[in-house]
């Protein structure tokens, strides 16, 4: 069984250098790269126009960028070691003019943040909490709604570089992936580690909870995508087929499909039901650092991919 996806549009030269992160909202796609500027493209207009530039967001370039599920908040992490919080003003739902609101800086993480300490970041669905990993394997959580955005929690692991992090949509879990292949799941209500998941023995570069928070996908240099049951911690599947390191994972709106991007420029779509790859797209010959489904606003679901070419490509599910 295979599935057809059409190339809708490619923004060539979306960034002057490698794009490391994509972060969608209902009406826009925020993108970040080695450039100091975050660029925002409208996704509700046919030609995906550039609608805003956050100039000089991070002097040394941006390595991680995330948006909350509600689309009201974003967080960016730069190579200089800072994390900035962005909020959107104006009508998010306006579709005719193509504007999706204006993004502005609303704060910065400064409590308990030593230079170079923060690497990967994740936002809760409501944008109230930020989780991040550190070089020595800790996961810190900040309360973005409180005065001064204080750190409220610290999870400790065994000291291996925390390369990726995700928060479940229901707010109950935090997951992290580490350099030594470890994957951890924490219970946010109790503040304790829920699972230490084995299976990947090489750097884990992406973890992602399914929309219903029942499954966790993890992948990296082992070149397979491991699927775990969040409740029991059992590994329920291995998705094989990538020839390169896997850098990015994204779940479709219903959790039916998983999108993955790899070092050898391939994006793959996997059916969770059949545990098979149903589509593969090649995006040039440079790494795909970021692949994301866009929130479903039309009948056909769309995803975006970006990486070393500096371009962003949009794909749409073929009607059928």
């Amino acid at each position: 069984m295979s599935k057809q996806y059409l190339t809708l549009h490619t923004i060539d030269n979306a960034h002057p250098t490698d794009i490391f992160a994509l972060a969608p909202t209902k009406t826009a796609l925020l993108s970040a790269s080695g450039s100091s500027t975050i660029r925002i493209y409208a996704t509700n207009a046919p030609d995906f126009p550039l609608t805003q530039k956050l100039e000089g967001a991070h002097k040394l370039g941006v390595h991680h960028l995330v948006t909350s599920k509600d689309g009201q908040r974003a967080a960016s992490a730069g190579f200089e070691g800072k994390v900035k919080i962005w909020g959107v003003e104006g009508n998010q739902e306006k579709t005719e003019s193509g504007t999706g609101g204006i993004w502005k800086a609303v704060g910065e993480i400064s409590d308990s943040n030593k230079p170079g300490e923060i690497w990967a970041v994740a936002l809760s669905a409501d944008g109230a909490y930020l989780a991040s990993t550190t070089y020595d394997g800790r996961i810190n959580v900040w309360d973005l709604s409180a005065e001064g955005m204080p750190r409220i929690r610290e999870y400790e692991t065994k000291g291996s570089f925390g390369m990726c992090v995700d928060l479940s949509a229901d707010g109950r879990f935090t997951a992290s992936g580490h350099e030594n292949g470890s994957v951890y799941v924490f219970n946010n209500d109790t503040g304790r580690m829920l699972h230490s998941l084995a299976g990947l023995v090489k750097p884990v570069r992406a973890v992602a909870f399914s929309p219903a928070s029942k499954l966790l996908a993890a992948a990296g240099d082992a070149r397979i995508i491991a699927l775990y049951d969040v409740a029991s911690g059992e590994q329920v599947a291995n998705l094989s087929g990538h020839a390169g390191w896997v850098f990015s994972l994204g779940w479709s709106d219903t959790g039916e499909y998983l999108l993955s991007g790899s070092h050898d420029a391939k994006a793959k779509i996997w059916s969770i039901d059949t545990r098979t790859c149903v589509a593969t797209h090649s995006h040039g010959d440079k790494p795909l650092w970021a692949v994301k489904w866009l929130p479903k606003t039309t009948r056909s679901e769309m995803f975006a991919v970006a990486g070393g070419t500096g371009a962003i490509s949009f794909y749409r599910e073929a009607a059928g």
């Binding site: 250098t17 040394l60 570089f161 350099e179």
Partner: protein, 484 residues
């Protein structure tokens, strides 16, 4: 011993370029410091001898120049000397500067001043250094900080520093008068007990060169050769002797060149810089070298390039501007820093480059503006897999040359992203991108990863150098066979 010397050289160079340079960190308190007090030092044979020599050296000068003002500031002195004529900082100029320092000391003694002092320019940090982006070179600017070395100082160590500095100045002065070259190693072994360790001498010699605003070579001081070179070049000396770059299969120590030397590179089509000695040696013993030695030159400085190697390279490239120069370094922050030192110069020795702006006749820029980086790059880390059944095997072997970044690596990479050559919209946007990718991957790689490929590093290099590498002419084949 060479290994030890090499470590010292590398350590000193790297320390200066890596992080804030703290004097006390490098210069441990000498073992004898507890027994040194001001009166004792003044009476000690070494100190006494130094001052006595200073007196002797300057006796005539003193008679002629009585009343010469004391030398208290580097800038002040340089300004005072400035006249309507532009300064030519040649050997005689440097001799005069050293003698004026000694005269200052003698004057202070005669006037019974409570302190003797010598002012040095500071090479730590980045103050007074700038990145000349038009020329792609790190050079000195106005505003270099200075510091006073005084006797008697507030501590015994300060008095020791003064003694060390006077003795080094004396040795340099003797070398200049006799017009002989001394190595830093030579200087150290004159008084190892006084100098304590090689790095002390290395540091002061370069501080003096910076203070005087001249190349170290103008002090008649060289570092012991550490670079190795091999290739199809011939150097003809004025005395009739000849250096053939292909004579020794192992490669030659980088020769010291004189202005009277001539070099023949008429058959050379490329120059290749190799970061590591081990790689250099494996290359000159490989089939790659048998095939291509007649048309290339390969060279290693064994890590961060020393001044002698950079001078030699500058000489080669200035006489053959049409010949491309390539570099292969490890994929890690140090590899890119080494690449940057070759191409743009280093902060610690920025004064060596600033002579370019002074326009002195003997001056020569040490940077290599046309240097091209052929590898190791991020896209070499994981070659495209051909078939799934060999993926696992290839992947296992591939990862042997890959390592994760250390915390130091990550800190160094982040600092480099802030430096002039690497800044956004700077002259090395591509290098900047590679540093960022390195941080994203958290991976570094040695050039040995190419040995895992079919044909090894030599074969890969032949492909990488292909635009420049052409099949040798038939006549050369015969010649090579005869030599073999």
């Amino acid at each position: 011993m060479l290994f030890g010397a090499s470590l010292l050289e590398d350590s000193s160079q790297e320390s200066l370029t890596d992080e804030a340079y703290f004097f006390e960190d490098l210069l441990e308190t000498p073992a004898t410091s507890s027994t040194l007090t001001s009166p004792q030092l003044l009476e000690s044979p070494i100190a006494g001898k130094s001052l006595e020599n200073a007196l002797r050296l300057n006796e005539d000068a003193l008679m002629l120049d009585a009343g010469q003002p004391q030398f208290t500031g580097a800038d002040e002195l340089l300004d005072a000397v400035q006249g309507p004529q532009p300064i030519v900082r040649d050997r005689d100029w440097v001799i005069a500067r050293i003698e004026s320092i000694f005269e200052g000391i003698v004057d202070a003694l005669l006037e019974k001043k409570t302190k003797l002092s010598i002012t040095l320019s500071c090479r730590s940090g980045t103050a007074g250094r700038t990145f000349d982006s038009a020329n792609g070179i790190v050079t000195t600017a106005t505003g270099l900080q200075t510091r006073e070395i005084t006797f008697p100082g507030s501590t015994a160590q300060e008095a020791w520093r003064f003694t060390v500095l006077v003795r080094i100045l004396e040795i340099i002065h003797d070398a200049l008068i006799a017009d002989v070259i001394v190595t830093k190693r030579d200087i150290y072994y004159r008084h190892p007990d006084l100098f304590v360790k090689q790095a002390v001498v290395d540091r002061y010699v370069d501080d003096l060169a910076c203070t005087f605003g001249v190349s170290r070579t103008f002090l008649n001081v060289s570092a012991a050769a550490k670079g190795l070179v091999a290739g199809n070049f011939t150097i003809q000396r004025a005395d009739g002797s000849q250096i053939n770059g292909l004579k020794d299969r192992e490669g030659l120590l980088v020769p010291n060149l004189h202005s009277s030397d001539t070099i023949d590179m008429s058959n050379v089509q490329w120059i290749l810089l190799v970061e590591k000695e081990a790689t250099f040696r494996s290359l000159v013993h490989s089939d790659f070298w048998i095939l291509l030695s007649s048309q290339g030159v390969i060279l290693t400085a064994k890590g961060y390039p020393d001044l002698s190697t950079r001078i030699f390279l500058s000489y080669l490239t200035s006489r053959s501007s049409h010949i491309p120069t390539y570099a292969i370094v490890d994929y890690d922050p140090d590899g890119l820093a080494i690449l940057s030192t070759y191409k743009h110069g280093s902060y610690a020795l920025a004064h060596e480059n600033s002579r370019a702006t002074s326009g002195s006749a003997g001056g020569r820029q040490l940077n290599l503006p046309r240097l091209q980086w052929v590898g190791v790059r991020s896209h070499h880390l994981q070659p495209p897999a051909s078939a799934d059944n060999v993926c696992a095997e290839r992947d296992t072997r591939q990862t042997q040359g890959l390592m994760k970044l250390t915390r130091r690596d990550r800190c160094k990479a982040r600092r480099m992203l802030e430096r002039e050559a690497f800044v956004e919209d700077g002259v090395e946007a591509e290098w900047r991108s590679e540093l960022q990718i390195m941080l994203m991957l958290n991976i570094k790689a040695e050039m040995q990863i190419f040995e895992e490929r079919q044909g090894g590093l030599g074969f890969w290099l032949m492909e990488a150098l292909e635009p420049s590498a052409k099949p040798p002419r038939e006549g050369l084949d015969d010649e090579r066979v005869r030599q073999a």
